[in-house]
């Protein structure tokens, strides 16, 4: 199996975890978790320099899920990396669980509390500036959603990252074009997202957010860019991988758990028969 094929499998497995977790919890946000699965797989299984057995390692790369409602995909990645057990995924959103409805900094591997949109990049700027102060080489990855581009605080932080020339920060915009109340165009008409970031002095790379090769090469290009922060605008499909919810904004959060649970079972069967990679990893 080459790198690409392996990462595709990890992404598919994360999707499976997401579907199972949400179906188990009977609540949560599938759409934006699924659209981010390929990117999350590339980050956690190829890109980031982290130590699952030492979550607070001071030199680790940081990841901030600014679109915190997509927590299931983050939890899946963390569990698959070994920050905590796969069993734990079953406790999503239940009282006493370490897996909160939105990410909590106290969960191993979670670098920032998020859930209220628009704050992640600001926190990321603080981390990136700290790295510079401490002469450390870790990088800060911030995944943002397209809905949160509405938040003014995002543009405050976009301005400051450019002002401080934070080339150790990488923003990945999971641009699935849908937010809670409909398409980004209907809700707040963004025009050209690329131009907007460029107007704030950022290096912009546009990719297909479901193409592993494009994701990996954009990460590489971002690393090579100096003195200016980079944003990857990743064209994605909300709900990617679960056909009946793809591109349906109503499925931002869980709509019909019966249907969803049935699908989880179906997915399990399909994966079991697909490949030996999945065989002992399904739950």
């Amino acid at each position: 199996m080459n790198k690409k094929e392996e990462l595709e499998r990890w992404a598919q497995l994360l999707r499976y975890d997401v579907v199972r977790m949400i179906s188990n919890a009977n609540s949560g946000h599938p759409g934006g978790s699924l659209s981010a699965a390929d990117i999350a797989a590339c980050l956690y299984f190829n890109e980031m320099n982290i130590r699952p057995d030492e979550p607070d390692w001071p030199d680790r790369d940081r990841f901030i899920l600014s679109k915190g409602h997509a927590a299931p995909v983050l939890y899946a990645a963390l569990a698959r990396k070994g920050y905590f057990s796969i069993e734990t995924l079953k406790t999503l959103r239940t009282a006493g669980s370490m897996l909160q409805g939105h990410p909590d900094i106290h969960t191993p591997g979670v670098d920032m509390t998020t859930g209220c949109l628009g704050q992640g990049l600001s926190a990321g700027c603080g981390m990136a500036l700290s790295a510079r102060l401490d002469k450390k080489s870790y990088r800060v990855y911030v995944m943002m959603g397209c809905g949160e581009m509405n938040e003014g605080q995002v543009w405050e932080s976009v301005m400051s990252a450019a002002h401080f020339k934070l080339d150790n920060i990488l923003v990945i915009l999971d641009y699935n074009q849908l937010q809670f109340d409909g398409s980004v165009r209907e809700v707040l008409n963004p025009g050209s997202m690329k131009k907007r970031w460029e107007g704030f002095n950022w290096n912009v790379i546009e990719i297909n957010g479901h193409d592993i090769n494009e994701i990996l090469s954009s990460f590489k290009k971002a690393k090579e860019t100096k003195d200016i922060p980079t944003v990857i605008i990743a064209d994605t499909i909300k709900g990617r991988g679960v056909k009946f919810i793809e591109k349906d904004y109503m499925w931002h959060s869980l709509m019909d758990n019966k249907k969803f649970t049935e699908y989880a079972e179906q997915m399990r069967e399909e994966l079991k028969n697909a490949d030996s990679f999945y065989a002992d990893r399904l739950w």
Binding site: P58, R62, D104, I105, H106, D111, M112, T113, T114, G115, C116, Q119, G120, S122, A123, G124, C125, G126, M127, A128, L129, S130, A131, L133, D134, G152, Q153, E156, S157, M159, S160, H163, F164
Partner: protein, 309 residues
């Protein structure tokens, strides 16, 4: 009474603390000359970050700094620190219990002539409601410095409400200041005044005047409004039987409310809350605005006397 500027004390204390602790960083939102973080900027330019007029961004950035072991002091006028960026303080800072310190000059009516948009009589309440937050309100330049140094040592979020200029000096040196329990400024068994900030020197003066008339009033200067020293307050309630709280804050939700919550729970004694009577003030000199709010030595004396009868 000798006076000194609290915001200058804040700036100086940051420099002192910054010298001792290399992890201290200061964040500023385009008001460094007013908040006196300019002093820190001069001393440690590489640890000073001016974020521009973007307080929300500043608070979340501070949270990011804190996750990397820094001790960030995010500084903004009280009105913006407590209200423009309130949700960032809650979500980015308090939920994670991160080690972010918020310096908030121009609390209360101290921005005076700038008018109500810049005055802030609600910040103590806003911050007091947030879990994990420690809320400090020093009463003079010396206690302001003490608060900054205390905050550096304390792990977790701290909000420090600072005034402006010309505050009477109540304490000789910062070692005299008891942040957790507050300081007894005057002893007496007839009544107690619990106060903080700019009103503390007034309460002290009132108590001294009243002594001349044979009334003995306890005056207790509280710095830490959350968590509040419940034992100290209950002792005072036990001893004095009647409490007046005085603060440069809305009568709802501030020091008075914190004291009410403590005593009503275990030792309900009659209470009078003096403060800004739930209204938006005006442009005018600080003195005029305090007078309008009834925050004067004369009025404190009057209220004490009324309360006895």
């Amino acid at each position: 009474m000798q006076t000194a500027s609290m915001r200058t004390a804040y700036g100086e204390a940051l420099v002192e603390a910054g010298r001792e602790n290399k992890n201290i960083v200061v964040l500023e939102a385009d008001l460094s000359k007013a908040t006196k973080t300019s002093l820190f900027a001069k001393a440690f330019p590489e640890r000073f970050f001016n974020i521009g007029i973007a307080e929300q961004n500043m608070m979340s950035m501070a949270a990011g700094f804190a996750t990397c072991g820094k001790v960030p002091f995010a500084t903004a006028l009280a009105v913006f620190a407590s209200m423009r960026a309130l949700e960032q303080v809650r979500t980015s800072v308090c939920i994670g219990n991160l080690n972010v310190k918020i310096g908030a000059p121009y609390g209360g009516l101290a921005t005076a002539e700038n008018g109500p948009t810049h005055q802030c009589i609600s910040d103590i309440n806003m911050m007091r409601g947030l879990p994990n937050m420690t809320v400090l309100a020093p009463s003079d330049a010396v206690s302001c410095k003490a608060c900054v140094h205390w905050a550096v040592k304390h792990k977790g979020p701290v909000y420090i409400r600072i005034l402006r200029d010309g505050e009477p000096v109540l304490y000789e040196k910062k070692e005299d200041v008891n942040i957790e329990n507050g300081n007894r400024l005057h002893e007496g068994n007839d009544m107690a005044i619990i106060c903080n900030g700019f009103t503390s020197h007034m309460a002290l003066q009132a108590a001294e005047e009243l002594t001349k008339e044979g009334m003995h009033v306890t005056v207790h200067d509280i710095f830490c409004i959350k968590p509040i020293a419940a034992d100290v307050i209950l002792d005072i309630a036990q001893k004095c039987k009647r409490i007046i709280t005085v603060e440069e804050h809305n009568i709802y939700g501030g020091l008075g409310s914190a004291v009410a919550e403590v005593i009503s729970q275990s030792r309900p004694v009659p209470l009078k809350i003096m403060g800004v009577n739930d209204y938006f003030s005006d442009s005018g000199s600080h003195k005029d605005l305090l007078e309008r709010a009834g925050l004067t030595v004369e009025n404190i004396i009057r209220q004490v006397k009324d309360f006895v009868e």
